[in-house]
């Protein structure tokens, strides 16, 4: 069936079978590959995207259920001020190693900062607990999210 979506600000009609996930459609049809297939089971969080503004596992989301939805992937947030701050602190503070988990973590962190602009360390740990990282041990990721929050506060944002 044809599903009408708004992806990263642009209207897009995609072809989706009943069992096709949003993740498959984004990657194989739209060639938006920032969201990753790490487990296809909703555990690792590498496929996290925003559906109507809320973080969601694209691997557990059926594309056919997304008729009329607004989908935002990491590619669609490249001019978003909060995301740009996160990208900067993730880079400078060593929060990225292999990078496979990074797009999903950035989406989760972006959502966290949207609701809680200056989160405490334990709030960040909880906010990122749905995203697995096997490389960093998380500490530098947590520091990067905290620093992005602080930077925003200093900028008066």
């Amino acid at each position: 069936m044809t599903v009408a979506l708004k992806i990263n600000g642009a209207a897009k009609a995609v072809e989706a079978g009943l069992s096709d996930t949003l993740l498959t459609v984004l990657r194989d049809q739209c060639l938006l590959t920032a969201a990753k297939r790490g487990c296809n089971q909703g555990v690792c969080g590498a496929c996290t995207v925003l559906v109507d503004g809320r973080p969601q596992r694209a691997c557990l989301t059926l594309a056919a259920n997304c008729e009329g939805a607004t989908i935002t992937t990491l590619e669609g947030l490249k001019r978003d001020p909060t995301m740009m701050r996160l990208q900067k602190t993730f880079a400078s503070l060593g929060a990225v190693q292999c990078g496979f988990c990074t797009p999903g973590i950035l989406i989760s962190a972006h959502w966290l900062l949207a609701r809680n602009p200056a989160p405490a360390i334990d709030e960040i740990r909880a906010g990122l607990s749905g995203n697995l990282c096997r490389c960093t041990g998380y500490r530098k990721i947590i520091d990067a999210v905290a620093a992005a929050g602080r930077t925003a506060a200093e900028a008066g944002a």
């Binding site: 996160l86 190693q97 292999c98 496979f100 360390i121 960093t136 041990g137 500490r139 530098k140």
Partner: protein, 768 residues
């Protein structure tokens, strides 16, 4: 040192980070080729069976299917790092549940997966051997009937179901008579899954001339080439292997996974084929950390002097040898710990079973033996009433002390590492620590360790382009640990240019110099050395041009920061790399290229000092050292063990990029904590029962302690590039042991088996 951007010692943001934070980094699964098909595999339902026949008729009827291959389509060619015992796909026989028996290429992934399930295979079941003890029983079913005829790279001692055996001895067994206390114990460790966030995958494409290009997730583009060509029986020159970004490895992607099958599907279909494993397949069919069974006995004098140790290991290798002979050898080699012993003997047997192959995983056998040996050191300390740190300080290898077997230790800052963790953790005041709640117990634990840093062959090509910019090509794969950045920093430092003047060519068997792989903590140390030497060759060639341009002797010239040569003492007399390279390209001498390649040749064993039977790695690199203190709480109600804080000191030689070294220390700690506390692959009979992230628990941001303090100690390795040595693995080795030592200090219970999951800890506390 220079203050140029990215100079050695600066915590430069990694060179690949913009693409990664913007979601533009392309991993294998992110690649799409015109006309590309999707691949899928069918796994064996049996652990041990003969394959009698295949029926692919129904699979071929699925719309979109282009080709189906089975073992009958593959020649009798075998691959393997130490013993060539493995076909590209099961042929004649299956040896573990999940082993690929057939593969499909189709227009969509869904069609390929459906068709793969419709391939019918007729089996004749054989007795499944699921433990090494069963494998060694007289009359046990033989897993590799043709083992004698397999090619082996060293004297493996293979026979029956014994894959290999290794036996190391140093000193005289009469040293036992000096021991006033002797402790003996049996320890077991569990299988651990790598869980790189990126599952294994490959994309193969054949061109009009029949030459194949293979993109894949790997830790060595050259091992991919060797494995695919050996297992398919094609010349290496027919296959070009390249590596896009890799979503971590930890050992999982060093040797082959499904690259040979992807290439076969592309050859058969004539179209590009992308084959990406599901998470379940990645658990079931790639490889995992070995479960160890260890008997260890240590003797000491009452003054705390260690005198003798013997270690015996039984290793389950799974269905294929893979890197297992190396893991056995490495585990035994490190089972002495970083201590002086008058007598040390370590021997072990590696056995085939009908399970998934076990193979390389960060630490390469060392975390398992350290779990046993570092607990035993604590037990001795308790027996003689000595502080565990004091006992270690008394016995550490120092100065010119050699490692077990006699290899020279170039740089050794273990004493400083131990001092750092002792001081920063407040070890001497640990008795004052209070649990955060009354139903908890709290204590600190310690562990020290050493690890290899590099071996085998590597190379570097440094090219100066017409405009004076530099392309560095090493063939080393950055699996996320940051070697691309570190190698650029080394090259920039050697040529005294800002790091952004250097660009890195990605690994490509057509254009890169040979690199054995991103494994054994070797890239910074071994490849870094080749980069320094190749950059030195560029400097030498460029200097000749500069001397001719400036009409002086090369010895009058100095390399100046920013990519130029000048006459010593004459600041205004300079010539730039751009001027030199333009002359080399268009007028005289030819383009400037510096190359270097070598194979590491320091002997592992000195035959005058030790006896080694079945030595898998006769030559080896420098040694890295580390010390770790953990602060742990145990909940007496639930049995849950929580690491509150950790101090992990690592002798990095010299930290080329301290930010990346810290990342290795922190990441290794949390991965080791997973091994210690929560991770375990569980088999239900012959079938892996928990091949999913739902049921296999890797630490989350809530499980990992935030208070991990990475401590970098610099010993300046004389052989290393700017003094550096490898740190990729050292940080994991002591984690299970240090946590177990803390748990023992808090509860009085010694745990001899991993993981220290709540159930095991609670049962032990209730039984006490």
């Amino acid at each position: 040192m220079t203050a140029l951007k990215g100079a050695v010692g600066s915590g430069l943001a990694r060179v690949d980070v913009r693409e990664k934070v913007e979601g533009r980094a392309h991993y294998t699964a992110d690649l799409y080729r015109p006309g590309m098909l999707f691949g899928a595999i069918l796994g064996s339902p049996h652990a041990h069976a003969r394959i009698k026949s295949y029926d692919v008729g129904e699979a071929m009827t699925v719309p979109g299917v282009q080709c189906v291959v089975t073992g009958d389509d593959f020649g009798d060619h075998r691959m393997g790092a130490f013993i060539k015992d493995e076909h590209a796909i099961a042929k004649g026989k299956v040896r573990y549940v999940g082993e690929p028996v057939a593969a499909v290429a189709a227009e969509t992934e869904a069609a390929a997966r459906l068709a793969a399930r419709l391939v019918k295979v007729e089996y004749q079941e054989l007795p499944a051997i699921l433990t090494p003890e069963d494998a060694l029983k007289p009359g046990a079913a033989i897993i590799h009937e043709e083992l004698d005829s397999y090619f082996k790279v060293f004297d493996t001692g293979s026979r029956g179901n014994i894959c290999s055996r290794t036996d190391f001895t140093q000193g005289d067994a009469s040293a036992w008579s000096k021991a006033e206390v002797v402790i003996e114990g049996n320890y077991t460790t569990q299988p651990q899954a790598h869980v790189s966030l990126e599952p294994c995958g490959a994309l193969a494409e054949i061109d009009a001339a029949g030459r194949i290009t293979l993109w894949s997730a790997n830790q060595s583009v050259f091992r991919v080439q060797a494995n695919v060509c050996e297992s398919l029986g094609i010349p290496m020159a027919q296959l070009r292997c390249v590596t896009p970004r890799v979503g971590a490895g930890f050992g999982n992607k060093m040797e082959a996974h499904i690259q040979p099958i992807a290439v076969k599907l592309a050859m058969e279909s004539g179209r590009p084929v992308k084959l990406i494993l599901t998470r379940e397949e990645d658990f079931e069919i790639v490889r995992a950390r070995h479960p160890f069974k260890i008997r260890i006995k240590t003797g000491a004098k009452r003054d705390g002097t260690l005198v003798a140790r013997e270690v015996e290991v039984l290793l389950d290798g799974g269905a294929f040898a893979d890197d297992s002979p190396g893991v056995l050898g490495n585990g035994l080699w490190f089972s002495c710990g970083p201590y002086r012993f008058d007598y040390m003997r370590a021997w072990g047997t590696l056995v085939y079973t009908n399970k998934l192959r076990f193979g390389a995983f960060r630490g390469f056998g060392n975390p398992q033996v350290t779990f046993a040996s570092e607990q035993q050191v604590d037990e001795i300390a308790a027996l003689i009433g000595m502080d565990p740190v004091t006992l270690r300080e008394r016995n550490l290898l120092r100065g010119d002390d050699r490692w077990f077997g006699g290899t020279e230790v170039g740089s050794n800052a273990l004493g400083a590492c131990l001092e750092q963790v002792k001081t920063r953790s407040g070890w001497s005041r640990r008795a004052e620590l209070k649990p955060s709640t009354p139903e908890r117990k709290r204590a600190m634990g310690i562990g020290v360790t050493a690890h290899v840093s590099g071996l085998l062959a590597t190379g570097a090509i440094v090219r100066m382009l017409e405009d004076g910019s530099i392309v560095l090509n090493t063939g080393a794969v950055d699996i996320g640990q940051g070697s691309d950045t570190v190698l650029c920093q080394i090259c920039a430092e050697a040529l005294k240019v800002p790091v952004d003047r250097i660009r890195l060519a990605s690994p490509d068997t057509d254009g890169s110099p040979y690199n054995w792989g991103t494994t054994a903590s070797r890239v910074t140390y071994t490849t870094g050395r080749a980069v320094v030497a190749a950059a030195g060759e560029v400097e030498r060639q460029a200097k000749e041009h500069a001397a001719e341009i400036l009409e002086c002797a090369p010895s009058d010239l100095e390399l100046r920061p920013g990519g130029q040569f000048g006459i010593v003492g004459v600041p205004e007399k300079t010539v730039t790399f751009a001027q030199i390279s333009a002359r080399a390209h268009w007028a005289k001498g030819g383009p400037i290229v510096g190359t270097n390649s070598y194979v590491f040749d320091r002997p592992t064993f000195d035959p005058k000092r030790a006896i080694a039977i079945g030595l898998p790695f006769p030559q080896i690199g420098a040694l890295a050292f580390g010390a770790l203190v953990v602060d742990v709480e145990i909940d007496e109600v639930t049995g849950k063990v929580e690491v509150k804080r950790a101090w992990s000191a690592v002798d990095a030689g010299r930290a080329i990029n301290p930010l990346s070294v810290e990342g290795q220390i922190e990441g290794a700690f949390v991965q080791g904590m997973g091994l210690a506390l929560s991770e375990q692959m569980v088999w239900d009979g012959a079938r892996l029962a928990n091949p999913s992230l739902m049921d296999y628990k890797v630490p989350t941001a809530l499980d990992a302690p935030y208070d991990i303090e990475p401590i970098i100690v610099e010993s300046h390795e004389p052989d290393g590039p700017f003094g550096a040595k490898g740190v990729g693995e050292i940080g994991i080795n002591a984690v299970p042991a240090a946590i177990a030592n803390a748990v023992a200090a808090a509860t009085g219970i010694r745990f001899n088996a991993l993981p220290l999951a709540p159930e095991r800890v609670l049962r032990a506390m209730l039984a006490k």
